[in-house]
Symmetry: C2
C-alpha cells in the first residue's frame, strides 16, 4: 500500500495525494475529502523512509545522556520526550556510561541517521573530538542543544543551571548553621557542574573569611563509589569536617553509604547538604537539605530550544544570530540536615 495505490483508488494523481498528506492548500475541498476517505479506509500511513529520503530530513532527534539510570537524566528524558511529542518528533535514546569513547562512537554512527537535531549531556567538557563531531552535526544543519554540562569553546545552545549560586546557597546555609569546617565532594573539573559548584563553594567560604582547605575538597566525580571513598578519606582526617556539601545526587548516596556503614548520624555526628533532590529519601529519617531545580522543565526547555534552532536553521533570521544559553534557577530546600549537635559541643570545648 503506497501513495500510488491511494491515488488510483481515489482517481487522482500521486501529487494530489501528497498534497493532501502534507496539508497543502490548492486542493479542492471535494478531492481532499475523496483522498482522505481512501486513506482512512485503507489505513494508509506514508512511508517515512521515503519521506526522509525525498525531503533530506527526518522527524527524529537523539538524546544522549551519560547515565540512563540516574533519576536526574530520567527526568530530563521525560520532559524532553513529552515536548518532543508536542512537536511531532521521535526521540532516539543513547547512554554513554560516562565514557567519552562510547560517546564518540555513538556520535559517529549517528552521522548516518538523518537526525533533525541532537540534545546531549556530554561526558566531558574538554573533548576536542566530541566538539568536532558536534560541529559536524551543526554544519549538516542538525542543531545541537546541550543540557547541564558544556563543551568548551563550542558555542552551542544549552540549558544549564545556576550551579555556582546553588552551591553558594548550600554552603552558606551550612555556615549559618555554625559550621566552619566544611568539605565538598567535587565533580570533575572537566564539567561545568563540577567546577561551577566548586566555585560556589569557595565563594561562600570566602564571604565568611573561611580559608579553603584542599584536604576538604576531594573528587567524587559525581559517582557513588568514588564519593564513598572520598567521604571515607574526609572522615579519616586528623581534623575531619563537621559538614559536607555533596555536589550531586550520586555523591550524596555515596556519602550516605559511608555514614550508614559507620553508624554516623546526620544531625548528631555530621551535617550534609546535597545538590539535586532525592525523592526516595523523603519518607525516611534522612531529612536532607538540598539544592533543587526544575529538572523536568530543563528537558522541556531543551526541546524548545532545539525546535527553535531547527526552524531558524535555513533562514538567517535575527533569532539565529544569538547563542541561546538558558540558566535555570536553583532553590534551597531546607529540611534540617544542615544542623548538627556536635557543633555546639565543639564550640563549648573551644570556649
Amino acid at each position: 500500500m503506497n501513495i500510488y495505490d491511494v491515488a488510483k483508488e481515489a482517481n487522482v494523481s500521486v501529487a494530489t495525494v501528497s498534497r493532501v498528506l502534507n496539508n497543502h492548500k490548492n486542493v479542492k475541498e471535494e478531492t481532499r475529502k475523496k483522498v482522505l476517505d481512501v486513506i482512512k479506509g485503507k489505513n494508509f500511513v506514508p512511508n517515512s523512509a521515503a519521506q526522509n529520503l525525498s525531503l533530506g530530513e527526518s522527524k527524529n532527534i537523539a538524546l544522549i545522556v551519560p547515565d540512563i539510570e540516574n533519576p536526574f537524566f530520567a527526568k530530563i528524558l521525560h520532559g524532553l520526550s513529552d515536548q518532543a511529542t508536542v512537536f511531532g518528533y521521535n526521540v532516539f535514546m543513547f547512554g554513554t556510561a560516562e565514557d567519552p569513547v562510547r560517546e564518540q562512537l555513538i556520535l559517529e554512527s549517528l552521522k548516518s541517521e538523518l537526525l533533525r537535531g541532537l540534545v546531549m549531556i556530554p561526558v566531558s567538557e574538554d573533548s576536542e573530538k566530541t566538539k568536532l563531531l558536534l560541529n559536524r552535526f551543526r554544519e549538516d544543519s542538525a542543531p545541537v542543544v546541550l543540557i547541564d554540562r558544556d563543551v568548551r569553546g563550542g558555542d552551542f545552545d544549552g540549558v544549564f543551571s545556576q550551579d555556582d549560586e546553588g552551591a553558594f546557597n548550600a554552603v552558606e546555609c551550612l555556615i549559618k548553621a555554625g559550621h566552619r569546617k566544611i568539605a565538598i565532594i567535587r565533580g570533575s573539573d572537566t564539567s561545568r557542574p563540577g567546577y561551577e559548584r566548586y566555585r560556589g563553594y569557595k565563594k561562600a567560604l570566602s564571604k565568611y573569611d573561611i580559608a579553603v582547605n584542599k584536604e576538604y575538597c576531594p573528587y567524587g566525580e559525581f559517582m557513588e563509589d568514588k564519593s564513598y571513598i572520598a567521604m571515607k578519606k574526609l572522615m579519616s582526617l586528623d581534623n575531619p569536617p563537621t559538614a559536607v556539601f555533596c555536589s550531586n545526587n550520586m555523591t550524596t548516596l555515596g556519602c550516605l553509604r559511608y555514614l550508614k556503614e559507620k553508624n554516623l548520624k546526620i544531625g548528631r555526628d555530621i551535617s550534609i547538604v546535597g545538590f539535586d533532590d532525592i525523592k526516595e529519601l523523603e519518607y525516611t529519617n534522612i531529612n536532607l537539605t538540598v539544592v533543587d531545580r526544575p529538572v523536568y522543565d530543563m528537558g522541556v526547555e531543551a526541546m524548545k530550544l532545539l525546535e527553535k534552532a531547527i526552524e531558524n536553521r535555513a533562514g538567517a533570521s535575527e533569532d539565529s544570530l544569538f547563542v541561546k544559553r538558558n540558566f535555570v534557577k536553583t532553590k534551597l530546600i531546607k529540611r534540617g540536615s544542615e544542623f548538627c549537635e556536635k557543633l555546639s559541643e565543639d564550640s563549648i570545648k573551644q570556649e
Copy 2:
C-alpha cells in the same frame, strides 16, 4: 557526498561501493581497499534513509514504557539499550504515562516509522485496540516483545517475572515472622503483575489457613498517590493489619509516605515487605525486605528475544514455531522489615 561521489573517486561503479559497504564477497581485495580508502578519507557515511527505503527495513526499534521516571523502567531501558547497541539497533523511546489512549496514539504514529521491532510494557492487559495495533506490527513483520505486563490473548513473546512466587515468598516471610493480619496493596487486575502478585498473596495465606479479608486488599494501582490513600484506609480500619505487602516500588513509596506522616515506625508499629528493590533506601533507617529481580537483565533478554524474532521473521524455522515467554526468577532479600515488636505485644495481650 553520496555513493556516486565515492564511486567516481575510486574509479568504480556504485554497485561496487555498495558491495564494499555491505561486506559482500565477490569484490577483489584490491578494489575493496581502494573504495575503503576513499570512504575513510572523505568521511563518508551512507544515508540510512535511502538504505531503509531500498531495503524496506530499518535498524530502529522502539521501547514503550508506562512511566519514564520509574527506576524500574529506567533499568529496563538501560539493559535494552546496551544490548541494542551490540546488535546495531537504535532505540526510540516513548512514555505512555499509564494512559491507554496515549499508548494507542504512539502505536498508530509508529506505523509509519519502519520499525524493525517493538518492545513494550503495555498499560493494560485488556485493551483490544492495543492488541490489534500490536498484531498489525507483527503482520508487517515487525516482531513484538512484551516486558513484565501481558496482552490477553496476544501470544506475544515476552520477558516476565515469577510474580506469584515472588509475592508468595514475601507474604510467607511475613507469616513466619508471626503476622496473621497481613494486607496487600494491589496493582490493577488488568495487569499481570497486578493479579499474579495478588494470587501469590492469597496462596501464601491459604497455605497457613489464614482467610483472605477483602478489607485488607485495597488497590494502589502501582501508583504512589493511590497507594498512599490505600494505606491510609488500611490503617483506619477498626482492626488494622500488622503487616503490609506492597506490590511494587511505587506502592512501597506511597506506603512509606503515610508511615512518615503518622510517625509510624517499621519494626515498632508495623511490618512492610515490598516488591522490587529501592536502591536509595539502602542507606537510610528503612531496612526493607523486598522481592528483587534482575531488571537490567530483563531488558537485555527482551532485546535478545526481539533479535531472534527478527531473524526468524522471514523463514519459518523451527524456532519460529514457538511463542517464547521467559520468566525471570525472583529473590527475597531479607533486611528485617518483616519483624515487628507490636506483634509480640499483641500476642501477649491475647494470652
